[in-house]
Structure formats: C-alpha cells, structure tokens
C-alpha cells in the first residue's frame, strides 16, 4: 500500500473522532490520578490507544495536538511536543509488529517508550529549561550535580527513571483497556489487525468472565 493511501485509511472518520478524546484523556488523566500521589504522570495513555487502534501517524498527531492544546493550561507544555510525537510513533510501530499482544511484550514496549521519550526530552530539558522543570525530580538532579555528575547525564538519569516507570504502566493500562473492547468495536478502526489478527487472542466474552 502506498504511504498516502495508508494515511488516508489511518485517518478515517472513526480515527478523527478518537483523536480528540485521546487528547482530552492525555490531558485529564494526569490530573485525575494526581490525588494518588504516584510518581507517574500518565499523560500519553490516549496517544498509546490511538497508536494501537489507528497507527503511528494518527498517534503522532495526537501527541502533537495534546501538547499544543496543553499550552493553554501550561505555556511550557508545547516545548515537549517532540517527545509526545516520538512516543506516538514508537508506540504505533511497536503495535504494528505485534508488541501489544502479550503482557511481557507490552512491558517491553513500555521500556522502549520510556527510553526514547527520555532521549528526546533530555536535550529539551537541558537546553530550554536549564535542566530544571520545577518538580520534585529537580531535587534529584541537584543531588546528582552536587556529587559531581554533568548536567546532561544527571537530567538523563532522572528522566529515564521517571519515564520508564510511567510508560510501562501506561502501555499496560492501554493494553488492558483494548482487551476489554469488543471485537466489533475494534474492527471499526483502521489498525484493528494490531490486536485482532491473533487467533488465540481472548475474545470479549472471555475477558469479561
């Protein structure tokens, strides 16, 4: 299939209605779970869902728009748009090669997502924000600097730790959610084969039971 045709299929009307909801989930879930005071942000679960159901390009658009729209809430959010785009792309390609079909593969996807997110986020944090983002993790960065580490290494170490944990949990929750969707529902999306093709994939009835 040619790339332009692929894009046309990916951005179906169903995808176009899924993306805004995914954007809102990206933006709202973090606030919802903030009362649990867990060291995760869960700000890409919508992008990962789009990646599974509608492919990497739709997920990249979801990530980009999440951070642009989030700019209304926090003006520094758009600076991290490249991270959100890469997370969408990587999740989409992982889904394409079948990495959303078993819990351990999903964990691997999460690890990969965390690593690539940290790789993209570190230069932005260092160059634009001087290595500081005003959250609790800045204390760890200060500690690492005080013990003699360089700025880039300190920021990368902290970003990798927080991102890997966050993305593994994000990927696992997204996978659990997709398992609970009915086959009929998933088949309306352009990349349904990402999760449906496998014969021994649990049917909806089995998951409910």
């Amino acid at each position: 299939m040619r790339f332009s045709e692929r894009l046309k299929r990916d951005f179906s009307t169903t995808t176009l209605t899924l993306i805004p909801l995914a954007i809102v989930l990206n933006l709202v879930l973090g606030q919802t779970i903030s009362l649990l005071k867990l060291p995760i942000f869960l700000d890409s679960i919508g992008s990962v869902l789009v990646a599974i159901l509608s492919g990497p390009w739709a997920a990249a658009v979801t990530g980009l728009l999440t951070n642009l729209i989030g700019g209304v809430i926090n003006p520094f959010f758009p600076a991290f748009a490249p991270v959100a785009i890469v997370v969408g792309l990587v999740a989409g390609f992982c889904a394409k090669v079948g990495w959303f079909r078993a819990w351990w593969k999903v964990t691997l996807t999460g690890l990969l997502l965390g690593l690539t997110a940290a790789l993209v986020a570190t230069p932005i944090r260092v160059l634009v924000f001087g290595g500081v983002t005003g959250s609790g993790s800045s204390f760890f960065i200060a500690y690492l600097l005080a013990t003699g580490s360089a700025m880039v290494q300190s920021v990368f170490a902290v970003t990798v730790l927080t991102n890997v944990l966050d993305k593994v949990i994000t990927a696992l929750i997204a996978w659990v959610i997709v398992l609970r969707l009915s086959r009929r529902y998933i088949s309306r999306f352009p990349r349904a084969e990402n999760v449906l093709a496998l014969e021994n994939a649990p049917t909806n009835e089995e998951v409910v039971r």
Binding site: F11, T13, T14, L16, T17, L18, I19, P20, L21, I23, V24, L25, L27, V28, L29, Q31, T32, I33, L35, L36, K37, L38, L42, I45, G46, L49, V61, L65, L68, I69, G71, V72, N74, P75, F76, P78, A79, V128, F129, G130, G131, V132, T133, G134, S138, I141, A142, L145, A146, M151, I169, I173, V176, I177, R180, L181, Y185, R188
Partner: protein, 227 residues
C-alpha cells in the same frame, strides 16, 4: 558574548506592550510569574552553584556561587519568560472558535481544525466524568490514601472506566459527523467571517521572514563564535 539582552528586551519591549494592547496584560503577567517562579526556585541555586565559572561571588562550604552561573540562570529564565508570555498572550486573547474559523478560511483542512477545536469542548465533559467515577469508586471503598501499594491499587479502577466510557462515545460521535456530511467534498460556507486585511497578511509574512532571518543570523553567530 551570549545574547543576554535580547530576551529581556523582547519581553519588556514587545511582548508586554503587545499583551497590554490585546487587553490581557494582567492575566499574562500573573501566569508568567506563576509558571516561572517554581522554575526560578530551582534554576537559580542549581546554576549559580554548579555552572562552570571563574568569578566567585560567594562560598558556602564546598560550594561556590559564580557570576557566570547566576548569569546563565538569568538567561534561561528570561528566555522562558518570552516563550510563556508570547503563548499566553495568544491563548488568552484568542477563542478556540475564532482560531478554527480563521484556520478554515486560510485553507487548513476542516478535519485538522476539528481535531484542534473539539478537545476544548470535551475537556469539561471528561473532567465531570472523572469526578463522578472518583466519587463512585470511593463510595465502594477504594483507598486513595495509605502506602504506595495501596494507592497504586486505585489506579486501574480510576483510569479504566474513564477511558472505556470515553471510547464508547467515539462511535456515536463518528456517526453524528458522518450524518452531517463531515467528509463531503465541495465548498462549505461559514456562519462567522473573520476579517483579514492585506496589511495583516503582509504583517504575517513579515513576521515569518523576520523569524527565519533571526534564527539564521543567531545560528551564524553561534557557529562563527566557535571557530
């Protein structure tokens, strides 16, 4: 020499007057302070003590506060003030509906404008749903306090119903859009017309040209200073 004056100059000389002209000076200033202050709290000590520098201003124990570090922290903060105030002035003075209409008039695809606009309408809806789910799960005895393990067990019952509920809406919305000929080709008229003068058009192209020239110039300065 790094451009210490540029960011401060643009912030004070361009962005603040522009916000005032748009009538959003107060909220812009408030929110710039609100987002910059927590960063400054970390940036200033971290860079004044750990940035490589030779001009020592103060020594506390093992740590030395250098002038170069303080200057670097100021540079980052002033740049962030430019970034924040420009975005805030734009977002506080433009409604999503105006933005959507303008983009469509400029020839941006209606599908893209839909993606940009509908989240604004959905956010309050999903927030209300989230509050309802939280209340319902707490009524069923879900723990939101306690140790890390107890708190993380609340994650799935909070997140999964919210996402599943939102996903169920997708089908309905897709059908509603199809029923309104969302994908139809052909000319569509708009109820609201945003006026766009020739002068404004030229001004936009001028700004674009200025940005390209400025980035090119600063890159050239950067690379020639390294040689």
């Amino acid at each position: 020499m790094v451009d210490y004056g540029w960011a401060t100059g643009i912030f004070l000389g361009v962005l603040l007057p522009w916000s005032a002209w748009l009538g959003v000076l107060r909220p812009v200033l408030q929110r710039v302070v609100w987002v910059i202050a927590p960063l400054a709290l970390f940036l200033i000590p971290i860079h004044s003590f750990f940035h490589p520098g030779t001009t020592v201003l103060l020594t506390i124990g093992h740590f030395t506060l250098t002038q170069e570090g303080l200057a670097y922290a100021y540079l980052i903060l002033s740049r962030l003030a430019v970034l924040a105030s420009a975005l805030l002035a734009f977002s506080l003075s433009t409604t999503p509906a105006e933005l959507a209409t303008t983009l469509t008039q400029q020839g941006v695809s209606p599908a893209f404008t839909y993606l940009l606009i509908s989240p604004f309408q959905l956010i309050p809806e999903v927030r209300t749903k989230a509050a309802t789910i939280l209340a319902a799960q707490q009524a069923r005895g879900m723990e939101t306090a306690g140790n890390l393990w107890q708190r993380s067990r609340a994650l799935v019952p909070l997140v999964v119903p919210l996402v599943l509920g939102a996903l169920v809406d997708v089908e309905e919305r897709a059908m509603a859009l199809e029923a309104r000929a969302f994908r139809a080709q052909g000319y569509k008229t708009s109820l609201v017309q945003i006026p766009d003068s020739v002068a404004q058009r030229w001004f936009r192209w001028g700004l674009f040209g200025f940005t390209v020239a400025f980035v090119g110039w600063s890159q050239w300065q950067f690379f020639t200073s390294r040689i």
